[in-house]
C-alpha cells in the first residue's frame, strides 16, 4: 500500500505529472505576459502542451560520434532532480513536523543537478557552439551559486541553526516569515536573482544566447530530449519560486501562497523583459562583487538578529 502511495507521490502528485503540467502552464504565463509587454497577442493556453506533444512525436537525433548515454543523461538528470524536489517541497510544506528526511543541503544539491545535466549533455553533443555554451554555463553556475549559498546560510542562521527544511517552516510559522526583516529582504533579492540565472532567463540567459551561439547547449537537442528540457524548464519555473516562498515567505500552507507565488513569477517575467542580456564576465562580476557582497551583508545582519 505504501509503495503505491510513494509511487503516486513521485509520479502523479506532487511529483512528475502535476509539476510538469503546472510548469508548462507557467511557461504559457511567461509567454503570454511577455507578449503583452511586447504589444503582441501571445499564444493560446494550450500552446506549451501542443509544443510538448509535437516534440514527443519528432525524431530524436543524436549527433554522430557523441556519447549516446551522456547526451541523453543531460535532460534526464534535470527531470529526476526536479521531480524529487517537488515531492520534497510539498511533503515538507504539508507536514512540516513530519519525519521525512530532507534538509537544505539535499535541496541545494538537487538544484545543482539541472545545470550539471546541461553541462554534461552540452559537452557530449560535440558542437563548437555547445561547448562555448557549456563553458558559459559553468562560469555562470559558479557565479550565482556563491551568493545563493550565502543566502541559504543566512536562512539557516535565522532558523536557529537547523538545516532541516521542516524546522525552517515551523520557525516561520512561529515567529513570522523571515522575509519581514532586513536580512530576509536581502536574502530574497539574492535568491530571486539566482533563480533568474538558474532559469536561464534574460539578463542571465548567457549560456543559450540565441543571437550569439544559437541556443548554445541546447543546439543539438531534438525530439523527446528537447521536450524533456522544456519540461525541466517549466518545472524549474514552478519549483524555484515555491522554494523561495518556503524558505523566506512562510511556506505555502495557506491560500495566500498562490498570490505570493504568482507575484514572484510575474516579477521574474518582468525582470526578464526589462533587461538586455549581459556578458558572461559582467555576470560573474555582478554575482561575486555586487550580489555576493550584498549576501554577506545579509549574513552579518542575520548574525545580529536583524
Amino acid at each position: 500500500m505504501s509503495v503505491v502511495r510513494v509511487l503516486f507521490s513521485y509520479l502523479i502528485f506532487p511529483g512528475f505529472v502535476f509539476t510538469a503540467v503546472i510548469g508548462l502552464f507557467l511557461t504559457w504565463i511567461d509567454r503570454k505576459v511577455t507578449a503583452r509587454i511586447h504589444w503582441r497577442v501571445g499564444p493560446p493556453w494550450y500552446q506549451p502542451y501542443a509544443d510538448f506533444l509535437k516534440l514527443l512525436l519528432k525524431e530524436t537525433i543524436i549527433p554522430e560520434g557523441s556519447s549516446k548515454i551522456l547526451f541523453l543523461l543531460g535532460p534526464v538528470l534535470g527531470l529526476v532532480a526536479m521531480t524529487i524536489l517537488a515531492v520534497m517541497l510539498f511533503s515538507m510544506n504539508m507536514n512540516p513536523s513530519g519525519t521525512f528526511v530532507g534538509d537544505l543541503i539535499v535541496i541545494v544539491y538537487l538544484l545543482a543537478l539541472p545545470p550539471l545535466g546541461l553541462m554534461i549533455g552540452g559537452s557530449a553533443s560535440k558542437n563548437p557552439l555547445a561547448s562555448v555554451g557549456v563553458s558559459r554555463e559553468m562560469t555562470q553556475y559558479f557565479a550565482y551559486e556563491l551568493p545563493f549559498l550565502i543566502a541559504i546560510a543566512t536562512i539557516i542562521l535565522k532558523a536557529g541553526g537547523s538545516i532541516r527544511f521542516g524546522d525552517i517552516i515551523l520557525a516561520q510559522q512561529a515567529n513570522g516569515p523571515f522575509l519581514y526583516s532586513i536580512s530576509g529582504v536581502i536574502g530574497a533579492i539574492v535568491i530571486l536573482l539566482s533563480t533568474q540565472a538558474k532559469l536561464g532567463f534574460v539578463p542571465f540567459d548567457i549560456p543559450e544566447a540565441e543571437q550569439e551561439i544559437m541556443a548554445g547547449v541546447y543546439i543539438e537537442y531534438s525530439g523527446v530530449a528537447l521536450a524533456m528540457y522544456r519540461v525541466v524548464r517549466g518545472m524549474m519555473l514552478f519549483i524555484l519560486p515555491l522554494f523561495l516562498i518556503s524558505v523566506l515567505w512562510g511556506g505555502f500552507g495557506d491560500w495566500w501562497a498562490i498570490l505570493k507565488f504568482l507575484l514572484i513569477v510575474v516579477l521574474i517575467i518582468l525582470i526578464k523583459n526589462t533587461n538586455p542580456r549581459i556578458r558572461i564576465d559582467q555576470s560573474l562580476r555582478f554575482f561575486w562583487l555586487g550580489i555576493g557582497v550584498l549576501s554577506i551583508i545579509g549574513l552579518v545582519l542575520a548574525v545580529y538578529g536583524l
Binding site: 504589444w39 562555448v132 544566447a209 543571437q211 550569439e212 551561439i213 538586455p276 549581459i278 559582467q282
Partner: protein, 391 residues
C-alpha cells in the same frame, strides 16, 4: 587553442545569408573572415537589359529597407547624364520620402540592436512605432515598401495636401518616442554596459576602410553627402550633421537616434516650404554620356554610375552600396572582443548584405554554394526523404 565559431550562412542573428568565420580563443575573437556571395542576383547586368524607366523598379528591389535610396541615386545619375533637373516640388517630395525612410531604417536598426542584445522589449516597442510610418508610405504611395516614388526627371506621385496633417501628426509622435528611446538607451546602465567601449572603430581605421554613413559619423569622421554635395532640397533646409568621436557601438546608436530628430526637422521644413507646381519634367531621350548619382542612404552614401550610348537602355550601370564599404571594417572592430560582443559588433554597421553581394565566390577552386544551390540541395533532400517514406 584557436577554434572557428561560424556565424552563418544561416543564423538567427542574420536575416540574410552571409558567412562570418569567427576565429576564437576561448571566448575572445582573434580574427574574422568575411564570406559573402550567397545571394548574388546580378542587378547591374539585368539593368543593362532594361529601359531607363524600368530600372528604378529593379534597383528598388536591391534592398528592402533602403528601397528609396537606390532608385533615388539612380535617377540622379540619369538626370546627371541627360542634364535635366527635376522640378522643385518633385525635389521636395523626394527629400521628404528619403528622410522618412531614414527614420524607419534607423528605427529598424535600433529594434534589431535591442534584439541582438536579448532585449526583445526594445525590439517590439521600437518596431511598434515604426509601423505607422509604413502606413503613411502606403497612404502616399500605395506600398509599405518599394515606394516607386522616383522617376527620371521628377517624382511619380504627389504628396497630397490632405496628407500633410497625417505626416505631421506622425512626426510629433515619432519625436516623442525617439526621446523616449534615446533616454531608455542612454539611462539604462545595463545597456550602457553592453554597448559602451565595445567594437571601437578608430577614426584612422574608419578613414582607412572608407566607411560611410552613421558608421563613419560614429567614429568622428564627418562625412555626409547631404552636407558635402547637397542635392534636391537638402541645401534649402536647415539641419545638423550628428558626429560622435568614440567609435563604439553606443556612439553609432546615438548617431542613429539623434539623426531621427534631424530627419524630423528636415521633413517639417520641407512640408512647410514645399512649392506648388508640376512634379515631373518631360524626358524624351537620354543623350550619350555618363552621370553619377549620390544619395545619403540611411547606411551611408549610395553611389550609382550610368553610361548612356544614346539608346533606351543604360550601356553600363554600376552600383556601390554603403554596406559594401562598411562591412569590411568589422575585421578591425571585432578583434579582441568576446563572442557575445561580436554578434553586436557585426550588426552595428547596420549591414545590408543584399546590397553588398557582388560576385560568385570560388573557394579552393570550387564554387561556393549560393542561396540557390542550398535551396536546390534542401529540395533534393526533401525529395529523398519522401521517396524513402513512400516505400
Amino acid at each position: 587553442m584557436k577554434r572557428i565559431v561560424p556565424i552563418g550562412p544561416y543564423h538567427p542573428l542574420q536575416e540574410e545569408p552571409e558567412f562570418f568565420k569567427l576565429i576564437v580563443e576561448g571566448e575572445k575573437v582573434v580574427d574574422l573572415e568575411i564570406n559573402i556571395g550567397y545571394n548574388h542576383r546580378g542587378h547591374e547586368f539585368i539593368a543593362q537589359k532594361m529601359t531607363y524607366d524600368q530600372v528604378p523598379f529593379l534597383v528598388e528591389r536591391i534592398c528592402g529597407i533602403c528601397s528609396d535610396s537606390h532608385p533615388y541615386a539612380y535617377v540622379m545619375a540619369v538626370e546627371d547624364a541627360a542634364h535635366i533637373e527635376a522640378p522643385p516640388r518633385a525635389q521636395y517630395i523626394r527629400t521628404i520620402i528619403g528622410e522618412l525612410e531614414r527614420i524607419h531604417s534607423h528605427y529598424l536598426w535600433v529594434g534589431l540592436a535591442g534584439h541582438f542584445i536579448g532585449y526583445n522589449t526594445v525590439w517590439m516597442w521600437v518596431w511598434r512605432y515604426r509601423e505607422p510610418l509604413l502606413d503613411i508610405f502606403e497612404l502616399i504611395m500605395g506600398n509599405r515598401n518599394h515606394y516607386a516614388i522616383n522617376k527620371i526627371g521628377g517624382a511619380r506621385r504627389d504628396i497630397l495636401p490632405e496628407h500633410y496633417g497625417t505626416i505631421e501628426k506622425y512626426l510629433d509622435l515619432v519625436e516623442k518616442k525617439t526621446t523616449m528611446f534615446t533616454k531608455a538607451v542612454l539611462d539604462d546602465p545595463v545597456i550602457r554596459a553592453r554597448l559602451e567601449n565595445v567594437g571601437i572603430l578608430t577614426k584612422e581605421d574608419a578613414i582607412g576602410f572608407g566607411v560611410l554613413g552613421p558608421t563613419a559619423r560614429g567614429s568622428g569622421y564627418a562625412i555626409d553627402v547631404r552636407k558635402d554635395d547637397p542635392y534636391d532640397a537638402y541645401d534649402k533646409v536647415d539641419w545638423d550633421m550628428i558626429v560622435f568621436d568614440e567609435g563604439d557601438i553606443l556612439a553609432k546608436a546615438k548617431v542613429r537616434l539623434l539623426e531621427c530628430y534631424e530627419s524630423i526637422k528636415i521633413v517639417r521644413q520641407c512640408l512647410r516650404d514645399m512649392p506648388d507646381g508640376p512634379i515631373e519634367t518631360r524626358v524624351d531621350e537620354i543623350p550619350p554620356g555618363e552621370g553619377i548619382g549620390r544619395h545619403e542612404a540611411p547606411r551611408g552614401e549610395v553611389f550609382h554610375y550610368v553610361r548612356s550610348d544614346g539608346s533606351n537602355m543604360p550601356a553600363r550601370h554600376k552600383i556601390r552600396a554603403p554596406s559594401f564599404m562598411n562591412i569590411p571594417s568589422n575585421v578591425v572592430a571585432v578583434r579582441g572582443y568576446s563572442i557575445a560582443d561580436a554578434a553586436l559588433v557585426l550588426a552595428a554597421v547596420d549591414p545590408c548584405y543584399c546590397c553588398t553581394e557582388r560576385t560568385v565566390v570560388l573557394e579552393n577552386g570550387k564554387k561556393k554554394l549560393t542561396g540557390h544551390d542550398l535551396l536546390r540541395l534542401s529540395r533534393q533532400k526533401t525529395e529523398a526523404i519522401r521517396r524513402r517514406y513512400r516505400r
